[in-house]
């Protein structure tokens, strides 16, 4: 861990950030991706969101390739990721090799073991007991919001308040029982990343 680098944006010089979010279907992978995209859009940035589809999601895995840029986005494919947000072991095994040296790796340590993270060449490996944290909040479904909060803090890709606004907007048609735990989880994720 290199706390002194936490606030530095992981974006490359042309202000482009390429990331992969991956986990089991139902873990909220696509929601993380969508919230990051809508937040970045609200900040005037360009985005692409490319989900896995069809046979690729059989077996219950889901992933989404996201690019956030201040300029034109050419390929929406993320071959080399600036960041990975990984929610399950299968996805860790599959995608960790696609992390750029110096990239950011955010792991749901409640479900993912990565013994030797040094091989990844990551600038920072953030291990978050996201599912356990979500369970303590009272709803394991908000695991993704914990991950999102932590990623936003660690990457600085978008402003926390903007992302929180997007999160509230996303769940705006649902009852408080749905919105509130997600907000709590997001904030807890931010705190966990700040403490790391």
């Amino acid at each position: 861990m290199q706390p002194n680098e936490q606030a530095a944006p992981a974006a490359t010089t042309d202000q482009e950030h390429r990331l992969i979010i991956a986990g089991f279907g139902g873990q909220g992978v696509l929601t993380i991706a969508k919230l990051l995209c809508t937040t970045a859009m609200s900040e005037g940035k360009n985005v692409t969101y490319l989900p896995s589809y069809g046979a690729e999601v059989r077996g219950g895995t889901a992933n989404c390739q996201v690019v956030v840029s201040s300029g034109v986005i050419y390929s929406p494919l993320v071959e080399q990721a600036d960041s990975l947000i990984i929610l399950n072991q299968l996805s860790c095994d599959r995608f960790v090799v696609r992390l750029k040296p110096g990239g950011l790796l955010v792991l749901n340590s409640s479900a993912v073991a990565l013994d030797d993270a040094s091989q990844t060449g990551a600038r920072q490996v953030l291990r978050l007991p996201a599912a356990d944290t979500a369970a303590r909040i009272g709803n394991v479904k908000v695991t993704n919001s914990v991950m999102l909060g932590a990623f936003v803090r660690a990457s600085g890709l978008v402003a926390e308040e903007d992302c929180l606004a997007a999160l509230r907007e996303h769940w705006s048609r649902r009852r408080a029982e749905v919105i509130d735990p997600n907000v709590t989880a997001f904030r807890r994720g931010v705190e966990l990343a700040a403490e790391a």
Binding site: N46, Y53, S75, P76
Partner: protein, 357 residues
């Protein structure tokens, strides 16, 4: 996408959904389709929205039924559409040929996947010949539009309805799995209210007029030839008026990349934000109408070029049109990826260096 997005807002929308929304905004009031990946979000969007906005959605029993329901709806005088992906589009070819024979407008969206056969569901461009050469039996062409972004899916879907009306012809929107699945920020509020052309030929019952008969059977050879000549006249007009393209990069480029859709998107990076400095200037020639192909413009560019690299997600189909347009003015090379693979900026760069450095 969120259908309740207020006007004026940029929405995060997939290509498939953008096509659905743009079609409804273009006045499409009939859609029939059959499930196939990677275009299912389009069908789902239409199924959700079209009935709420005064239209008819039918999940047909097959692609054959779907295109023929569209035939019926178009004959009835309404703006109609179907969508599918490559294997399903093959099944629709019969209906498309009949619609040409009956001069019926319609929009057909092909979110291409890789073939032949069942192939896979990854993005590909292997249906270029089918889209630009007619596809079904007989002498005909369909206007083929190739979007390379989600916004362009929206804009070209809207345009497709106007073109279909203007020339009384099926129009193909040729996208691929990546364009269909990908979400990007999209605006819809610039699209004007639709203005379908009058359809005095439509089947609406006969009060106050002579009957209409919409048919493609023309038994006397001279009658059928006359009809074919009429079609060819229409095609000549389309070739004159409807060519659309984009050239990106310096006017004095020595090397041209030629690509459409997803592969053009990758190529554009090499022009605007190269991975490494190239020892020559590169521009991108991107046809937006695959038919009519921008032949004249490409011929003009080829006069000044040292060479052209065609980049396709097929074994090389558009390259034939490039060869015909260039007619020996400069060498033409091909980078072909198949099976659902998308060429990377790195491999295109490497190929350019090998060929032209």
């Amino acid at each position: 996408m969120d259908s309740e997005q207020p006007e004026g807002k940029v929405a995060l929308v997939s290509g498939n959904e953008a096509a659905g929304e743009a079609a409804i905004r273009a006045g499409c009031r009939f859609y029939a389709g059959y499930p196939i990946t990677p275009q299912n979000e389009l069908t789902a969007y239409i199924a959700d929205q079209l009935p709420l906005r005064g239209g008819v959605f039918i999940q047909a029993e097959s692609e054959l039924a779907a295109i023929n329901m569209v035939f019926g709806a178009s004959a009835a005088g309404t703006r109609a559409m179907t969508s599918s992906s490559s294997p399903g589009i093959s099944l629709k070819q019969e209906g498309i040929s009949y619609m040409v024979g009956c001069e019926l407008p319609a929009v057909i969206i092909n979110v291409q996947r890789a073939g032949p056969g069942l192939g896979n569901i990854s993005p590909a461009q292997g249906d270029y010949y089918q889209a630009t050469r007619g596809g079904g039996h007989g002498d005909y062409r369909c206007i083929s539009l190739a979007p390379f972004s989600v916004q362009e899916v929206c804009d070209l879907t809207y345009l497709a309805f106007d073109l279909a009306d203007a020339y009384r012809t099926p129009v193909i929107l040729l996208a691929d799995g990546m364009i269909g699945q990908m979400m990007e920020p999209v605006r819809f509020d610039h699209l004007p209210a639709p203005s379908p052309t009058p359809r005095p030929w439509a089947l609406t019952g006969t009060p106050g007029r002579k009957r209409n008969v919409i048919k493609s059977l023309r038994l006397p050879p001279e009658e059928l030839e006359a009809f074919n000549l009429k079609l060819q006249d229409v095609y000549a007009t389309i070739e004159q008026r409807e060519v659309r393209l984009e050239v990106t990069g310096p006017d004095d480029a020595e090397v041209l990349l030629a690509a459409y859709g997803t592969s053009a998107r990758i190529c554009r990076q090499i022009v605007e934000r190269p991975l490494r400095q190239l020892p020559f200037k590169v521009a991108l020639f991107r046809p937006i109408t695959l038919w009519p192909f921008p032949t004249a413009k490409l011929a003009e560019l080829a006069e000044k070029a040292r060479g052209i690299l065609v980049v396709e997600m097929s074994a090389g189909q558009m390259v034939d049109d490039v060869r015909m347009a260039v007619a020996g003015r400069c060498p033409i090379e091909l980078l072909a990826r198949m099976g659902g693979n998308i060429p990377s900026a790195a491999e295109i760069t490497e190929k350019l260096i090998t060929l032209f450095a």
